[in-house]
Amino acid sequence: MTCGTVAPPPSLQPFTRHTLNCLVQNEPGVLSRVSGILAARGFNIDSLVVCATEIEDLSRMCIVLRGQDGVIEQARRQLEDLVPVWAVLDYTRTKTIERELLLAKVSILGPEYFEDQLANKGPDILPATEGVEEGSPVRQHIDNTLNAVADGHPGVSSNYRRQEGTLTPSEALRQKHTHLASINTIAQQFGGKIVDLSNDAVIVEMTGKTARVDAFLKLVRPYGILEAARSGLMVMPRAPITSPWSGMADEDVAADEVEAMDSSLLPPG
């Protein structure tokens, strides 16, 4: 039990983002073994997507992490050495389709009310405005719109009185619908859609590559994001196009990027 360690020479390789795709046996403990190998080498996993595949007993993990090429390659081989792991493919330099799913709950009350709305947000299963304090700006906004609804119904008495600095019910409604419409426009531009609509917020669903999801979030951020959930990245390599026509692009670059992956090596062989 003698000691004495030899420190490896510090490598000056830059840290880059890597996408690893693991095909693993679908059984308990595999995720733990995979994440254990990465944790033991000090990797922080940026994103990790796991699900069973169309083949029985086979799961696919897509792992995104940052690190030096050499270190990641060593980690890849260690992962591939695990018994329940079929193959680990590094898709970092492969032409792939990358997608992640975003669910974002965005306020439609407007940025003036967002802080208050966020601060008073109750448990997620309740409407975002549940439990909002009496007299707070959000409460007034809500009350105004509720009152506006009530106004429209005969027989419902209105205790509404116009105050300095507050919105009239119609103003509140118009403002809300303007926000809703703009969020909807942005969402449509990104191929997303509104999947839930409530008094004070909408949930937008969209898919895209990481940069596109980031861009969407940047655009809706001014409206106030109450909550956002991202699935993490999934990838699938593009199939190469074969044609007798050589095309206009520089061939070398294209050939280099589409990395050979012999699909016959993939399970179940």
């Binding site: 004495g4 591939e80 590094d90 050979a260």
Partner: protein, 696 residues
């Protein structure tokens, strides 16, 4: 034993699928003297459990109208062999989990089991009660069981089997499992677990063994249903022994081992030879899709051709052989052929000792690394081609990584040399040292493919061999002999053992060690010539490994002489296993190089901590009295004059009884040569009496 074993084998194959619980239970409940019983009894069971169960389900009355079924109708001929591995095997129906375990051990030809009983594993222990089919060794601590199984595996080449209980029983095997993982030793550990209904409830003696053992096993599994028990056992043996061997753990909840199998299961689950695991094959082709992973490409003719060309043209080649060369008996032969045909000197790692005949004066460089020979280390640093065979460039071998093998790197840059790495695990390629040619796959297969590519007549390389000869003369293993009236030098004791063994014949001697100075003296002063004659903890450096692993080695090869060269501190960690050896008449010889100190730590404290001996002095028991209290013969020697006679008495003592030799040695002896941490291999610290190494 072997007779009854073969009988049960034959009986099973002729019996096959037609055995139903009713017919078998009926047959075993009859008097055991009938011939029919002997033939019909398909499964070897250790206990009279079937008789007990037969009482529960009596035979139907004679006038009871039975519907003819395949199982009770004698007209249907039994299938000799299953038509397809997916056919259902009814043989195990009616057996308990413990009985299935017993039967599967027989099918895997397990003849020795090391273990310790306890609550959660009792159903299995009950099923192997009085089993005539294998020997059971009960250690005094589960760690002992694990190391014994390792020693058994190292000598026999078969996986060591450990059977322990849940909780503390299982956690005590963690050290042997990590040791086996570090050294690539096949080990199959079965541990008990609380009943599945109690898992996760912090039950008595519950430990999450699958979680605890995950990083220290190749693979592990909890058997959740009795129907999957045979399949999991098959997978465990397959994984432990394939690729780079290693430890596996099978967690057996008590209710699973106690329950009775009531369904037929496919033949492919019950027959080890049909095992078609749904786990990824260990022999699969590894992918090399990464840009940086070109070296991990499949074994290719081009890589072999390149390697052959480099070797043939090398001016100063050296072979660096590891434990991979010992995986089959063919390995050392291939290594000798490569060395002779290619005219290349050989150095071995600590784990590879015995793969090459060290008495070959011209071609053997002995061990390399931190405490390896100076000539091996200088050869590595000066070589233009390094051929790494089944070795993994451990940090004890490379010294400071960026100063390792400068000549080979320079030669690689000029395209006339480099490092050629034969490796079974792609993950080990370029892990520590970048290889110029990497050949993944079984090193023996690769070597078989490489040898025909080498030229018939290798260059003489006179200059290179002359240089090696000069190094050997200038920098031998050296120590100052003890003076009159002094305690012995530990090197003298190892030399005395070596002399006796040379005279007796080394093919009969196996040496195990603990970890520390005594281990290094054993490497340096015992001349290794025989494969699988060396059992030691390399990667993990587990003190206390010596005695239990020697017991395991002796169990694997009772006809041989097994010596445990141990240190006083190392021996003290597992000394109680001497009682095990005494109980089972396992004739191990324990040779303690007793300097009343943790010698290796003392050496580091001398060299790097200004002789502040922080907690390294040992206050030992009287080892002779300790041995005698366990009815073990013991010898003490404290001077060189008595040594040859006492060594003779020790080595020639009854080979069926343990014996202990307390060799009292001086305290302040250092292991030389030494490559200190952070130094290059050629910056070697020699014995003060030798002139320092000329710098490269």
């Amino acid at each position: 034993m072997s007779r009854s074993f073969s009988l049960s084998r034959r009986a099973l194959s002729t019996l096959s699928s037609s055995t139903s619980p009713a017919s078998r239970l009926a047959s075993t409940s009859r008097p055991p003297c009938t011939l029919a019983n002997g033939l019909r009894r398909g499964l070897a069971t250790a206990t009279g459990k079937n008789e007990a169960q037969a009482a529960v389900r009596p035979q139907p009355a004679a006038n009871f109208q039975q519907v003819p079924t395949p199982s009770n109708s004698p007209a249907v001929a039994p299938l000799a062999r299953p038509n397809s591995p997916n056919d259902l095997d009814k043989d195990f129906i009616g057996l308990s989990g413990g009985q299935i375990f017993h039967e599967m051990m027989l099918r895997h030809k397990v003849d020795k089991v090391f273990g310790y009983p306890g609550g959660a594993i009792l159903p299995v222990f009950d099923a192997i009660y009085n089993s005539p089919h294998f020997d059971f060794v009960l250690p005094r601590h589960e760690q002992g069981a694990g190391h014994m199984a390792e020693g058994y595996a190292r000598v026999s080449g078969k996986p060591g089997v450990v059977l322990v209980t849940s909780g503390p029983g299982a956690t005590n095997v963690v050290t042997p499992m990590q040791d086996a993982l570090s050294d690539g030793t096949p080990l199959v550990v079965f541990c008990g677990q609380v009943a599945t209904s109690a898992i996760g409830s912090d039950a008595f003696q519950e430990a999450d063994m699958v979680g605890i053992s995950r990083p220290c096993t190749k693979w592990n599994v909890m058997v959740k249903d009795i129907a999957e028990l045979p399949r999991r056992i098959n997978e465990a043996f397959k994984i432990a022994t394939s690729g780079r061997p290693g430890p596996v753990l099978v967690d057996l909840p008590k209710d699973v081992t106690a329950s009775i199998l009531r369904q037929a299961i496919p033949y492919k689950w019950t027959h080890p030879e049909l095992v078609e695991s749904n786990l990824p094959s260990r022999n699969r082709t590894h992918t090399a899709t990464s840009q940086t992973g070109h070296e991990a490409a499949l074994i290719s003719d081009s890589a072999l051709n390149k390697a052959a060309k480099l070797i043939a043209n090398a001016k100063r080649p050296v072979i660096y052989a590891g434990q991979g060369m010992l995986s089959t008996p063919e390995g050392p032969e291939l290594l000798a052929r490569l060395s002779k045909q290619g005219n290349i000197p050989v150095t071995t790692t600590l784990m590879g000792l015995g793969a090459f005949d060290e008495n070959n004066d011209t071609h053997s460089l002995h061990m390399l690394g931190m405490h390896g020979s100076a000539y091996a280390n200088l050869a590595m640093q000066s070589a233009d081609v390094i051929i790494a065979l089944g070795a993994r460039f451990d940090d004890r071998v490379t010294g400071k990584v960026d100063t390792f093998a400068p000549a080979a790197r320079a030669a690689a840059a000029e395209g006339r040399g480099g490092i050629i790495h034969f490796e079974i695990q792609p993950k080990n390629v370029n892990k520590v040292i970048n290889a110029n040619v990497a050949i993944t796959g079984d090193v023996l297969e690769s070597l078989n493919a490489l040898l025909p590519l080498l030229p018939e007549q290798a260059p003489k390389r006179e200059e290179w061999f002359a240089k090696i000869k000069q190094w050997k003369e200038d920098y031998p293993f050296h120590f100052e002999p003890s003076k009159k009236g002094e305690l012995m030098k530990p090197q003298e004791v190892v030399k005395a053992l070596n002399d006796w063994s040379e005279a007796h014949g080394k093919e009969d001697v196996i040496v195990a060690t603990g970890v520390g100075q005594h281990q290094m003296f054993a490497c340096q002063y015992y001349r290794w010539t025989q494969p699988r004659s060396w059992v030691s903890s390399g990667g993990l450096g587990t003190m206390g490994y010596g005695l239990p692993s020697a017991i395991g080695a002796k169990v694997a090869a009772p006809e041989k002489i097994v010596v445990d060269i141990d240190g006083d501190a190392s021996f003290s960690m597992t000394a109680m296993e001497l009682a095990t050896a005494s109980q089972y008449n396992i004739g191990v010889k324990v040779l303690i190089l007793n300097n009343e100190f943790q010698g290796m730590v003392l050496q580091w404290q001398d060299l790097f901590y200004e002789k502040r001996y922080s907690h390294t002095e040992m206050t030992n028991p009287d080892f002779v009295a300790l041995a005698q209290s366990m009815r073990v013969h013991a010898i003490r020697c404290d001077n060189i004059a008595d040594l040859p006679a006492k060594m003779k008495e020790f080595m020639e003592y009854d080979n069926n009884r343990p014996v202990l030799f307390d060799a009292r040695c001086v305290k302040n002896e250092h292991v030389y040569p030494m490559v200190a941490a952070g130094k290059a291999l050629h910056q070697v610290l020699l014995h003060p009496a030798l002139k320092p190494v000329e710098q490269l």
